[in-house]
Symmetry: C2
Subunit: 383 residues, 2 copies
Amino acid sequence: MFEFALEAQHGAARAGVLQTPHGSVPTPVFAPVGTQATVKAVQPRELREMGATLILANTYHLYLRPGDALIADFGGLHAFMGWDGPLLTDSGGFQVFSLGEIRQIDSDGVTFRSHHDGSKHRFTPEKSIQIQHNLGADIIMAFDECPVPNERGAVEAALERTHRWLHRCLDEHLRSGDPDRQALFGIVQGGIFADLREQSVREVTSLDLPGYAIGGLAVGETKAQMYTTLELTTSLLPVNRPRYLMGVGSPEDLVHGVARGVDIFDCVLPTRIARNGAAFTRTGRINMRNLRYATDHDPIEPGCTCYACRTFSRGYVRHLVKAGEILGHQLLSLHNLHFLLTLMRELRAAIVDGTFDDYAAAFLATYEPVTGTQEGVNVPPVG
Amino acid sequence: MFEFALEAQHGAARAGVLQTPHGSVPTPVFAPVGTQATVKAVQPRELREMGATLILANTYHLYLRPGDALIADFGGLHAFMGWDGPLLTDSGGFQVFSLGEIRQIDSDGVTFRSHHDGSKHRFTPEKSIQIQHNLGADIIMAFDECPVPNERGAVEAALERTHRWLHRCLDEHLRSGDPDRQALFGIVQGGIFADLREQSVREVTSLDLPGYAIGGLAVGETKAQMYTTLELTTSLLPVNRPRYLMGVGSPEDLVHGVARGVDIFDCVLPTRIARNGAAFTRTGRINMRNLRYATDHDPIEPGCTCYACRTFSRGYVRHLVKAGEILGHQLLSLHNLHFLLTLMRELRAAIVDGTFDDYAAAFLATYEPVTGTQEGVNVPPVG
C-alpha cells in the first residue's frame, strides 16, 4: 500500500501514481480542501464528476466540531462525508499556531482556546496522530511548527522542535495506528535558509516515510524565495517518494511547483475566491461582479467543460453573484476547482508527452497572476 | 397548445396533464419557486433528477434585477436560467402590494419603490404583461389585487379592480403577446365571502382563459376558512381548466388542496425551511440542529430516495447545518423539494388508482403539521 511509481519525468517535473487504500492518485495532483468535512458548496458526486482524486480535510476544525470520536463512530471521515476516494488530513498544527494570542507553545505541545467558544484544548504530537487515526484519512501529517520563514532564530528553534515531534508522531503512529491503512508524511521545514532546509531533509528522510511535505512556504516570503527554496528542497528529497507542497494552489504556483518536482498541492483558493464572485480563466482571474459581464452570453470560460460553463452564461452567473444567490457560489466553486484539476491533468499529460516546458511556458505567457495580495498563499484559515 | 386533459377523478380530486410549449405537466403538481431565476441552492439538473416539471419565478424580483429586457436579450428566462422545462411567472402584484409603506395603489396601477435602492417604479396591468412577455414563461398571471381576506369592503374594492385589470391584461396579451406560446391565467379573488367568490368566478371565467388561479388565500384567514373557500371556488370553476392555488405548499395543505380539486401549487416553504435547518418527514417537520441527530446514522428520512438521503446521515447533515456550511442548505433543499414532489406523485397515482381517500387519510393521520406559525403560507417574500 502507498506505493508511489513514477511514470515519466521532464526536467525536475514528474508524473506518477500514488496508491492508497481508497484508490490511486495520479500525480501531480491538486487536492480540493474540505475544511469542515465538505468542500464548500460542492457535493461529493460533483468532485467525482470533475475528476478530483484526493481531498484534504482539517484536523483542527473537525476535532472541535463535530469531534473526531464522533466521526470515528460514523466509520471515519470517508463514510461521514460521503467521499470514498483518497483523503488527506493535516496535523492541526498550522491552524493552532495561527491562533496567535490564544495559544501557548511549549516543548511538549500547544495549548490553545477554541475559536468557537474559547474552551481550552491541548495538542501534542501524540494527540494529533490519535485524532487523525480517528478521522481515518489515507494520508496523515506529522505535527510540526511552522515559523515565520525569514527569522533564522525562530526557524532554527522550530526545526529542532519539528524533528523531535516527528519522532513522537511516528512512534505514536506505529504504536496505535495502522501504517497499511494510513500513510504518515513527514514535513520538511527550514524557512528560506538553504542549510536549514538541507538539515531538515536529512533528518526527516532518515525515517524513510511514505511521503514528504514541504512546509513553511507561502507564509510571507517572496515568490522568488519560495521557488528557490522549493527547487533546493525537492532536489534533496528521495526521488521515489511523493512530495507535497502544503497550502499552495494559485495557477501560476501550481505550474512553478510542478516544474520544481512537486507532486501534491492543496489550497482553499478556488472555493474561497468563488465566494467572492471570482473565476479562474486561462488569461487570469476575472470578477463576475463586473458590469461588463451583465450582457455577456459566453460561459465563464469559453471551451471549459465544467457543468457551469456547459450550462450557463456569464450574464447569468453575474446575476446570481449580484443577487447573493447560493447557486452563484456553487457554480463558481465547480468551475474554479475544475479549472485547477484540468490544469493539473494537462501538466501531467505534458510531462508524459515530453512537452512540459512548452506547455508551462505557454500557460505562464497568457496567465496574468494576481499580485499584491495574500490570496493563494497560506493565510490562516481559521474561522 | 396548453391543452388540459383529465385522466382520472376521485371525488373532487383530479389527475390530469397540462401541455405547454416546454413539455407536459402531470397534475396535481407542486412547482418549486425560483424567485430570482434560481431555485435557491438547487441546480436545474437536480430539479430534473427529482422529477420537477414546473418552476415558478417572480416578476417583481426579475424586473428589478437583472431586468426583464436583459433576460429577453438572453432568449428569455428558460435559456437564462438553464431550465428548459415549463415555467410560470407571477404578475408581480402580490410582491408590490406587500411593500406596504413604499407603494401607492390607484385605479390604473401601482407606484412603488424598489426594496433594493428606493428607486421609483410603476406597474400597470399592461406593464406586468409586457414584463412577463419578456420573461417568456409558459404560464403567465394576470395582474390582480390581493386584499386582506376578511374585510368585506376592501375585498369588494379589490375584486372590482382585479376584474377591470384582468380585461386590460388580456387585451395587452392579445395585442403584444403570443397566446400559443404563453398561457394567461386569470385569478379569482373574493376573500372568504362565498357570494364574492361566486361573482369573481363568474366574471373571470367569462373570458374563457386556459387556466384559473385561486388568489387571496393563505394570507391570514384560518385554515378552516381557507378549505371552505377552496371547496366552494373549485366547485364553481370549469372542469376542463387547470386550477392553481397560489403560494400554498405545506404538506397538509397540498393534500387538502388536491382533495378539493386543485391542480397546481407553488410555495417557497421547502427551500426556506431548508435554510433554517428543517426537513420534511412523513411524521412532520424535524429540525436538524437538534442534538439528538448528532449521532444518528439514519438518513434524513429512512426510505427516501433523494440524493441527500441516499448518501448522507442525519449526523452529517446536522454537522453541516451547525457549521453553517452551504452544503447543508443544498442537501436539505434537495430533500424537501423531493419530499413534496414525491407526495404529489403519490397523490396523483392514488387518484388514478381510486385509492385517493385512503392515501390522504393515511398521510394526514401520521403527518403532524406545524401550527401557530406563518410558515407555509403567503408571507411577503420580498428581500
